[in-house]
């Protein structure tokens, strides 16, 4: 019964897809990619930010003839920002929709879906889970295009304690305070930041953890200001960050701020107001000095595609989806088939560095190279995308600052500087 209705529904969708996609025909089943992300609840914005970028790449793939004639399509698996729902969503994606790969999950849902992902051997490339819990959690099938919070935290501490990475004429922080929201995606920054500051010879004066989603953070801000900080590192979702910064402003604070990748985007300036965020520092994953040109090109392309600015996780998703698409193509060209088991190997094949490899930065480039019989090494927006044994990436970080109402890069910390 379910079998029947599902097949009918699939045909219907394929039909709609056909009409939508125009002349490009897709005779076979689509290649399904599961978006295991929150689309409702407190973290609904994560799914909302990831999906359009993933879709943009999928359209790039599909309009160029798909992969072996098959189109990439997406199935949403709403984790609702709740552990249990994340588990059932993963069950449906993996067992019913038979997705070939997962994009996602977030730090929160990873705990509940980890066993399912490993047991079923579904390749997972997450643009959204920086949690240190994933640093050593799963081999072979887990990859992420977001550096571990351990690295991001280290980069923040490094920049704040070394004037060469700050804006011209700025002095290093002597008395930093750390404010961290209590959510799975945020708390994993806490320990790395605190430890790294100590490693670089500056003690964090005070660490304040706070409940996310509160209407205001006046008590927390008062506590922070009580330590007379010259800079505050703030790790929280955009909403909460805007509240904390506004409350601090209202309490007369005019010292420095450092925010994580989540806030280092144009959206956050709109959300928190340009006046408030002028001069704050932010973090961005970059491939290299020259990689920044790619980032700007992506921003333009996305603006054209979606009519909005790149949001949080946009660049990470771009890389995750390119890796998935290229791995599918590579897998298909290998033996004409694409399976979960072989896909994971091809994810490494298209992203690992190598002497004899052609470096590519997009699906179209990669496709041309592969069809020319070359081996490829995908280099992304957030770094060279070279996965270690546990699927982690290391990346240089761009230190950015809001200047005149827009983010500009003031320095790049090479990956080697974070040892």
């Amino acid at each position: 019964m379910i079998e029947f209705t599902k097949r009918r529904a699939c045909t219907a969708i394929a039909a709609v897809g056909l009409i939508a996609a125009g002349p490009v025909g897709a005779q076979d089943d689509p290649l399904k990619v599961g978006l295991l992300l929150p689309f409702t609840g407190q973290y609904a914005w994560v799914g909302e930010n990831v999906q359009p970028v993933a879709r943009m790449i999928a359209e790039e793939v599909n309009t160029s003839g798909g992969i072996g004639g098959r189109e990439i399509s997406f199935v949403q698996g709403d984790t609702e920002g709740v552990v249990d729902a994340g588990t059932t969503a993963a069950q449906k994606l993996i067992n019913v929709d038979n997705v070939m790969a997962l994009v996602g999950p977030t730090s929160l849902s990873f705990s509940g879906s980890k066993n399912l992902i490993i047991d079923n051997g579904v390749p997972m490339v997450t643009p959204t889970a920086g949690t240190t819990e994933l640093d050593r959690a799963c081999r072979d099938v887990c990859f992420r295009t977001v550096p571990s919070d351990a690295l991001g935290g280290r980069a923040i501490a490094r920049a704040a304690t070394d004037a060469q990475y700050l804006a011209e004429g700025a002095s290093t922080w002597e008395n930093p305070v750390l404010m961290v929201a209590q959510s799975p995606a945020m708390v994993s920054f806490l320990e790395p930041i605190e430890r790294s500051f100590a490693d670089y010879g500056t003690e964090v004066a005070r660490v304040i953890e706070f409940t996310p989603g509160k209407p205001s953070y006046r008590a927390e801000v008062q506590e922070a200001l009580g330590a007379n900080p010259d800079g505050i590192v703030l790790v929280a979702a955009p909403e909460d960050s805007a509240r904390v910064m506004t409350n601090a402003f209202q309490s007369g604070y005019d010292g420095d701020w450092f925010v994580t990748q989540d806030q280092t985007n144009a959206d956050y300036i709109d959300l928190a107001s340009a006046e408030l965020v002028e001069g704050i520092y932010g973090l961005e994953e970059v491939a290299s000095e020259e990689g920044q040109a790619l980032n700007r090109a992506f921003e333009e392309r996305y603006q054209d595609y979606a009519g909005e600015e790149v949001k949080i996780f946009g660049t990470n998703t771009y890389d995750a989806m390119n890796v998935v698409a290229l791995a599918m193509l590579s897998d298909h060209m290998d033996d004409g088939e694409i399976t979960r088991a072989t896909l994971a190997e091809h994810i490494r094949a298209v992203s690992d560095p190598g002497e004899d490899k052609t470096q590519v930065t997009s699906y179209t480039e990669g496709k041309q190279a592969l069809q020319a019989g070359e081996k490829i090494d995908y280099r992304g927006l957030v770094g060279p995308i070279d996965f270690d044994d546990w699927g982690n990436i290391a990346a240089p970080f761009g230190i950015r600052q809001v200047q005149g109402g827009a983010w500009s890069t003031v320095a790049v910390i090479p990956a080697a500087a974070l040892d």
Partner: protein, 285 residues
């Protein structure tokens, strides 16, 4: 100094809670159930206000218009979903209100998306008085809260509608016998309740700077605490309860542990209820 500063912050937060709580408790008076969809009136209020402000209306006018619109939604919701179940007791209404909350919240998300949006109030420097920082936003909030509560007071004391509402709240049976519990009183109460909820939502948006589809649902628990603390159905109790909860949250967060500040609100509620099982103004029978 920190203590006085905390009091100022607590009062402002309490003002937001109090306004919302008054709205919730008014509807309780005539319908006798806790409306889990009340948070959505807050959210709707904030979003309508945002929408109208973006369309070019002044913020104050946008707020008023939004409140009236949400009042109408309140009457609609009551007629469509609650009224048919009115005779079936507490729990069916309660479950229905959870369903209504799901529906409204997610309809908002379909149209507004999930990313938080800034509430269009410009950033303002705080007023500094002898080392105290008084945010201008909080003055606005306190002002609106005071005016709202005064208006509710006048409505209940001096208008025919207010008297009827109180009569129904005191003893629905008796009021019905006296021919009061008419459709019109019910509608009017829901209108006023939802309207005040919308105002609470706008104040909440000013407090938390951003607007998002789940804002009201999240805030609802604190509003419940205030309503219960004051005694269900008592508007004056709700005002006091709101202010007390706001103060408890800020004082607890400042002096004990910031990440337990919601817990303080609830612990305070539980303690009060142990001593007075029907809240501060809930009477004894």
């Amino acid at each position: 100094m920190i203590f006085v500063q905390t009091l100022v912050y607590g009062l402002a937060l309490g003002g937001v809670i109090a306004v919302s709580a008054v709205g919730l408790t008014l509807a309780y008076g005539v319908t006798r159930f806790i409306n889990f969809a009340f948070g959505e009136f807050l959210t709707l209020g904030a979003f309508f206000c945002l929408l109208l402000a973006q369309a070019g209306l002044g913020l104050a006018w946008a707020g008023l218009a939004a409140a009236v619109a949400v009042g109408a939604v309140g009457v609609l919701v009551e007629r469509a979903f609650y009224d048919p179940l009115m005779s079936r007791g507490l729990l069916p209404l309660l479950v229905t209100s959870v369903g209504v909350a799901f529906v409204v919240q997610n309809l908002i998300r379909i149209f507004a998306g999930s990313n938080p949006v800034r509430f269009p109030l410009p950033l303002m420097r705080p007023i500094e008085v002898g080392g105290l920082f008084i945010p201008r936003e909080q003055l606005i909030i306190l002002g609106v809260a005071l005016v709202t509560m005064l208006a509710v007071h006048l409505l209940l004391r001096f208008t025919m509608l207010g008297k009827k509402m109180r009569a129904v709240a005191d003893d629905p049976m008796l009021a019905r016998v006296a021919g009061i519990s008419s459709r019109r009183v019910l509608d009017a109460t829901w209108f006023v309740s939802a309207m005040i909820g919308a105002l609470g939502g706008i104040l909440l948006a000013i407090t938390q700077i951003t607007v998002a589809p789940q804002m009201g649902w999240h805030f609802l628990l604190v509003v419940f605490a205030a309503v219960l603390l004051g005694g269900i159905g008592s508007p004056y109790g709700a005002m006091i309860g709101g202010l007390l909860i706001g103060l408890a949250m800020e004082l607890g967060a400042t002096y004990v542990a910031a990440n337990y500040s919601y817990a303080f609100a609830f612990i305070m509620l539980i303690l009060v209820l142990i001593l007075r099982p029907r809240g501060l103004m809930g009477g004894s029978g």
